[in-house]
Symmetry: C2
Subunit: 395 residues, 2 copies
Amino acid sequence: MKSRSHETPAADLPFDSTLLDSLLGDAGIDLLLVTSKHNIQYLTGGHRFFFHDYADAIGVSRYLPILIYPRGNAAASVYVANPMECYDRDLGKFWMTELDLSAWGTLDAARAAIAQIRRLGGTGRIGIEGSFFPADAYRSLCEAFPNRELVEAHYPLERLRARKTSAELELLRGASERVVEAMLAVFTGARPGMTKQDLVDTLRREEVNRGLVFEYCLVTAGTSLSRAPSDQVLQEGDILSLDSGGNYRGYIGDLCRMGILGEPDAELVEYLAEIETIQQAARRPIRAGTRGGEIFGEPRRLIARSANRGALDFVAHGMGVVSHEAPRLTDYAPQRYDGCDADRRLESGMVISIETTMTHRRRGFIKLEDTVVVTEGGCLAYGDGGRGWNRAGGP
Amino acid sequence: MKSRSHETPAADLPFDSTLLDSLLGDAGIDLLLVTSKHNIQYLTGGHRFFFHDYADAIGVSRYLPILIYPRGNAAASVYVANPMECYDRDLGKFWMTELDLSAWGTLDAARAAIAQIRRLGGTGRIGIEGSFFPADAYRSLCEAFPNRELVEAHYPLERLRARKTSAELELLRGASERVVEAMLAVFTGARPGMTKQDLVDTLRREEVNRGLVFEYCLVTAGTSLSRAPSDQVLQEGDILSLDSGGNYRGYIGDLCRMGILGEPDAELVEYLAEIETIQQAARRPIRAGTRGGEIFGEPRRLIARSANRGALDFVAHGMGVVSHEAPRLTDYAPQRYDGCDADRRLESGMVISIETTMTHRRRGFIKLEDTVVVTEGGCLAYGDGGRGWNRAGGP
């Protein structure tokens, strides 16, 4: 094991450690324990242990990576992880000089982390990701450090990720474009007699064949408002919605597009056009310096005077590594919500998902969801094609 | 909300509630809280919420389903889950009469579960899955019930799953066969100049195209012992190993097969034959009533007298919903390990993965991993093809 007197220059780190230290200072956190896959990915610069990419469970426990980060001393960081991550170590993937690759489960990971925390010393507050720290490991930590306060570290970590680098933006662009391409392929191949499950299975293949990890697909057909994959059989004339998350090297594409098994009538054309108008109105104020809440202004006005106002819903939220993350523009996920970015200024490199949904009792579920990135002068949309009624059989 | 006086007949449940009650009794658990995806899947008879199948994180927290099961009173069970699981409810997927589909994160899930536990009453011990219960929800639970003991519920749940039904066995057969078919397709298409990452990407597509969820692939090429996907370029003559987990409707196929870019020389043929001999020797004693540890007898004797004994390793472990589960035949995953199935009798319907690995410094990584099911008269192997040197370009 290398000495912790070795100092990794901040410039070598795959994240902004100065910003992280500042955010941790604001949160009163002296030692940070990172245990979620997405924050491990972010702080390691892209490492997500391939063996546990999908399933956490193994044996009598589960995979639990722990990145120990002492505020103001990134060079002393420690990574506790699985023995098979030695292959990634040998490939030079880790900037952390101290590695303990001995943990198969939560309790041995906790034991290793506790030993490392003792070695680092200190008596200050420990920040944990409370939703991503298992109870049994938490109990061990409490017993080992009865006099150290354990506090929530979600917010500094989320804030750290809020502005994306150009490399991250390229991955988000790649994710969005691939998801939309895959959806258009599914619409082209859709036929009466297929089921909603068939559509989802096809989308899964289309996404994976484009290099994505398929995350999920919300799907509707006909006038039904049920968005689960099911045995519902597609009928001639059905409208279809696909709202899917696909993961491209750790970054999410999350968009919604509409299809139809036939030709849309005037009413359907009008409804999708109304949704499109709201979506474009939401984009218009977006640029660095705009107050986040302004995104909602014109969409809300448009909905208030729409004949469909009871069926229309508009929402906007940050996205990137997690499907809903900073900037937080609504109180959509109120848990431990302490301050809304609606009153803060948008910053360049923030990525925002904007969604307009019509749940129409007679015509069914009609929606567009788009991904835009905030720039100095405006915004750019990723995967911005296929916004109309995509005909089965192709254009 | 329906009254809890309604009694679901045990015969309607997708699991053996009599066995579960007995196991919970042995563990001193009065009220069970199930929170892992795999045990939720098992107890609901196959439900795994599609929106969070891959990613747990959303917003400022994560998905946390909680199935509340009072010992001896299955009919009073409650399922706390996500609002979008209403679609699955409407499809009739849940046997639980009491549903609270309001939770987007861990703390609102905990809040809902606490209210339901209060309504159910009782003062006895609560069993939790300590590795799959988030720390923040755990803190809420401790505060709500300071006088109720919280104990580990892993073992009764694992034991409940140990013997597979015929329907489960069909899924495990389907998983194993598809994984092996996908591997053979990858070997057939392997060419010098491809990378290990290319092999894994191809295997992912081949598995998904066969209806599997790709979980992971450990991969080696040439004489390297590194099993991570990487940019290592395949060379003419390289041996290849693919050890992959693919998930078929909630059940895991996990096998290892060997390929080669060319023709194996006599030494390679001999080494794989030696591994095959050990694998077959391991199967021979397997039948209902055999002591679990007997599987290790002949393989250990064969290895002890092999010229390659320093390079050979044999292991066997139960599998099914989790890649390592009961029967536990070794102390491979020692965490909270309290009693080894090596001294218990095998039972029909148990599924065992048997693995022989040669890590040969000069020739590379050579391995077979097979899946067998214990029957009354012996054992059956699933996905048992492709056991030799699979040539690139096909047979």
